[in-house]
Symmetry: D2
Subunit: 426 residues, 4 copies
């Protein structure tokens, strides 16, 4: 089996959620240093202040490090992480020339894969061994692509000029991953930025195997908000009138949040992803937590939908005599791929036989914090693209039974090398 | 400080939820055997088949036993429990005569007390030390009352005839506690049954300190149902149309369950006490769990409300293309206190100076599985009452900040001894 | 056919809603004056200021008068009503003695009877001929009973002493009917008050034919509130974000109003009976009206439920950026039948063979503005009862297909005459 | 004042809803025949079978005709309509050449304008005099534009070749207007089709005065469905358990319909525009009607959203033990303006000084049954555009306080004449 497909399966077997990716980080570091790369790791990659919100406690970091070692990471490398994830390897030709950066996200999603026959990760033994963790968004494949590009670059040392930065980013699914790398200044000298994601869509259809799209322009901004409704517990028969039912407030909010009218300017989206409330069946719930996100295609929509969200939260709390507090996570920005960068990808893709259909523009249909990196590159005149690698999947992304056609991995590596040839070749 | 108030504070400090009460059980056993009682414990008290649903795994039982020891229970007694809670002590005069049983429930509720000044359990150091556990329904006081009656009985050995059974019952708040003791046959020879609960109400007002009601007749039947809605996870922007939002189904069910019309025959109640759904903010939730209970004043209502509950669950699932499965917990029955038993309590209470106001009938305003014991006693011609000991409280029961006026404990002990005098005295 | 059953069918055929009962009033007046009674009518019966809210415009009164004549009322009597309903006839023996009053309500409900075979009013030709009007609460039978008592009294002129007032009250279902008669002073000299209603319940079962209950004590207070939500209309695609959807606010209010927890002190009820919103399918509704009522068994509950209603209205409006205004209709009071009056009824009922089962107390399971009359009588030391005449029905009251067993009419008349015998006989 | 602005005000003053436009039809006919046109009218314009659903009864048609005459239409013309609206005038040069059609919609919306100072229709006396009717979508201006083009064409008789059809279409807001004209064959020979609408948007901003967009491509399909939920009426206290609350079913449907997830392929819209339920506050509503529409940008979405709508209706009914029936109105299709036609408009608009900003493409942000005409023209090889005439407005369309800048009327006429010059000129 292709070595990078094997890597993908290893990462799939040991999935780690955002800011917990200590084993993944250590293994990437180990593989890259074995190839001969000097790597940055942990707080050399991510800005400590930026990730303050998500900062693991020393105990959690210690636990992650212990687990990483138990799951096969080398103890000396794990020690060097101090429990902070993220790796950057720089391929430096030593010759003047352009700087190109890649972003590979490495975190997984919460969830559990099904242990059932016919599901390949189960049948072939690479199913997740971490309870509650699953690579259901293809980041295992992205990571493998990054390692493949790193290896392929080694043969180009003399041929290429300039530098290629391979950024293995923690926490795309959660918060502050890309932002913390931007804050650290790693994008300041980048001229060309390439971000790959499997399983996007084009012309309204999923990108299946043997297809590719060269860039997306439909990033939505994304604001995530955690809300806790506070009521008053009481026995539901005796003294029910003294209770303030925080669950009714939350459920009313959930239903009404989804009634927010679409803005005429474009896509308007609200999702409530998590609800947790109450402790015991025979007590009126005094607390209920929801985690929601709102997205928009432009700043006017983001502002509109956020205003409506708070009107609904206010009203839902008032209806049931409750209060609420909230925490607003950082705002993912919107962005657009640049035609110039997309054209480079298009020329490269057309030379890779695996890609039978090359769409110029595709659709992300959502958000990715890579937009923060793209915007950082654009700010000083660079160009960027966020492109889609087609792959057959068992289920849509973010579904626990997601698996993909691994043949996309070597094809993506080949395509990237051809694009780098155009940028860095003689 | 009164010894039994001290015991109450000890139990308050080490609260244990239903079927976890190994420390509480061991301490009750220790105190009663020190007094000279022979006691039944664990599976001698509770029927193993009946508690099958709630059965702790061997690992959980082991963990409870270890915790009990770490929290001051004697290791040899803990071993004897095999991890199963419950104690019965029988005061046997050796002389023929009536059999009277008391039920004292010993479990706590889920929740967390506030660590703040001005809250007496915090100020005086008896606040819960078990994360997620709190004696917010007064069962700590009930247990202390039972120990007090046990001690007071010792002086009556010669004076009394017949037997007095002191039943320390696990798991009143959860399931099958009373039922499992009935199933074991402990109520088969009981002529008189007395169950005390703090903080009921009478004439529409809470029973505050210096008041008592001699019985309640308004038990509601209670059926608890756990429901899990199953949908389909999907990314909320890309491919949202593929998702089936289990949280929307659950929230719609929660709101609509509360719209069930009151039956003309009497009290009709539905409470949803717990909701848990979704795993991550940017995925359409594929699963959502709710735990609900429905109560009624008579079998017609119970049947009506259960039928309506399932109509609503069916409809809510159908609306969002989801399915659901459920687990029905055992049905708590309705019951009524007997006038003859209430009159005995009334005569006793009028002799205790602490009780300045004696109501004949009060209100439970809910359910208690003690009803199963009462019905068992009534079935073979015995009489029973479920009476309310007034006490000032900081908050209603089932509120995390519940605390009570401990002076009700010695008063309740005195009152019970006077009632026993009438039943068992010469 | 019994003459009073024929009258019932006539009133059934020409139903009139509250404050529109001009034909009914005129016919009652005609029948009673033909018997020889002097009658009060219209504003002699009802206080003009009290009914101000409901006051028909001169045009509406005129239309009601024209319809009354077209439907067989005598023009000269109709003229005398000036379009205001209500009749009082006084049977005065001329001898000193007690004053007894009866209340017979005469209005119908909105609705439409089914024109289908097997439905007796259709088959036998007395189905409603007034579009949108239906006697679905038995007031046609009550009116017939009143006429029957009037006739039976004529034979008692010499035998009886004191006075009997026969009050034919408009607008029980809507507003201010009883209140306006109390305000006019007609209850000021009343010692005994008897109010009959068909189809109540006792011991949790409907009162079927051959049963009676002698009084009810479970009147609920009742507050009715009309609410109009105001939003902002907009096209639902273009500029949807500019809209404020008053229908969403109203629907959210309707659902959440029904989630109000039952007060521990007793029955707590909320019903939303009417909703009207929006004008056209392709516009976001800028206005939505709801009409609701909230009931409670005692003033604490009334106050609690009204506070909760306004919290929910506030919150529902806030959620959707809407405002609302409201109109509070008068509060129906609670009341209780007096044992002394119920005992008189009991003695009378036991003598009427048609009543095979005599319940002492029954249940109204709701509200009736007769409570205002009962309270007025009690205030100066009189006694009152609100009793239930059993009758088999095709459907529960307030259902469009309601019909009843008319044999209850002569039985009720007989029973009342026996009660009057006890009060006014020698 | 410009004559066509005066006409606009006249139509504004006498608004008529879909299929009621008898006065409007008669006046258009009168004005056009006075100019010298031969016109088709009523069932010569609209296909009788197609409008069967909406067909007025003979009584309604008669009433519309009487009202038209009372409001100044000529009796002899009104007679000729037989109560059916719609006018077509054909400008026929008698010379061979292309056929161009215009569509002007003539119906108003339900609603009521505010009678308040500062609102120009009130201040200047052209406020609606028809209760419940308001020109809140600019069709009064469209009609005036049609008359202006008709007049301007008269001067071009010799200059132009081919034909110009001026179609004054009834019932754009309601149903079957365009469809019934297509069914009659009036579009069969049309080569070029121009449809104008005021107040669309471009680049995310409303088209204000002095702007124009030359076409739209974002038509949504539109399906309208009327739904009636059937429950069971009952008294809300006594026997509430016998009731089946159709209003709760409807309100739950309304809320949940708006939670339908947006399809990834494009715009997905649901609006509930009307709700009507219940008859009286103290009865559980046995019936509740809602009128909803669902739209999508392509057939996959239309199908998806319609499937979801019925899932929600099914579930909402099931939750409350209700049933429902429904009526599906015809489906409005999607369509797209043709570049070739838009380019003609662009060239013309650039020559009209009033249009300071000419957008090539704008946005309809919704649906218009004109799409059926456009598709009919395209089917036999013609080209069509649906263009937006910018105008300052007081409120968005479909708001009762909508008024517009009438200067757009002469500007639109001028622009159309220039476009016709290009098509039909020598």
């Amino acid at each position: 089996m292709n070595k990078f497909i094997q890597y993908r399966r290893e990462f799939h077997h040991f999935p780690e959620q955002g800011w917990d990716e200590v084993r993944t980080t250590s293994r990437i570091y180990e593989i890259l240093t074995d190839m001969g790369y000097d790597c940055l790791m942990g707080l050399q990659v991510c800005d400590e202040d930026t990730i303050d919100d998500m900062m693991r406690t020393p105990e959690q970091r210690q636990a992650n490090m212990e687990r990483a070692i138990a799951q096969g990471a080398k103890a000396d490398i794990v020690e060097m992480t101090h429990g902070f994830p993220g790796v950057i390897a720089v391929f430096d030709t030593g010759k003047p020339g352009p700087v190109t950066a890649f972003r590979f996200d490495i975190d997984c999603l919460p969830g559990n894969e099904p242990h059932k026959e016919g599901f390949r990760p189960f049948d072939e033994g690479y199913i997740s061994c971490n309870e509650g963790c699953v690579h259901a968004c293809g980041h295992d494949a992205h990571t493998a692509m990054g390692l493949g590009i790193a290896e392929a670059l080694l043969a180009k040392k003399d041929e290429f000029s300039g530098k290629v930065k391979l950024i293995f980013q923690p926490s795309e699914e959660v918060y502050h991953g890309a932002e913390s790398i931007v804050a650290k200044g790693h994008l300041d000298d980048v001229d060309n930025m390439i971000i790959m994601h499997v399983a996007l869509s084009a012309e309204g259809k999923p990108l299946t195997s043997h297809t590719i799209c060269c860039g997306c322009k439909d990033f939505l901004s994304d604001r995530q908000i955690d809300v806790t409704f506070h009521g008053r517990g009481a026995h539901p028969c005796g003294a029910a009138q003294e209770g303030r039912d925080a669950m009714l407030a939350a459920c009313s909010a959930v239903l009404n949040l989804r009634t927010i009218a679409n803005h005429e300017l474009g896509l308007t989206r609200v999702n409530v992803g998590v609800i947790r409330g109450g402790t015991v069946v025979n007590t009126i719930p005094d607390e209920c937590f929801i985690s929601l996100e709102c997205r928009g295609e432009c700043p006017e929509i983001s502002e509109y939908v956020e205003r409506r969200v708070f009107e609904i939260l206010d009203g839902a709390a008032a209806m049931h005599g409750c209060t609420y507090d909230y925490y607003k996570w950082g705002l993912y920005p919107a962005s657009k791929s640049d035609d110039a960068m997309m054209e480079i990808i298009q020329r490269a893709a057309l030379k890779v036989p695996w890609f039978e259909k090359v769409y110029f523009e595709g659709s992300i249909g959502g958000s990715d914090d890579a937009a923060a990196m793209m915007n950082a590159v654009k700010e000083h005149g660079g160009i960027a693209t966020y492109l889609g690698i087609g792959t057959d999947t068992t289920q849509p992304v973010h579904n626990d039974e997601f698996d993909l056609d691994e043949e996309c991995i070597p094809a993506a590596i080949d395509m990237c090398m051809l694009a780098l040839e155009e940028i860095h070749g003689a």
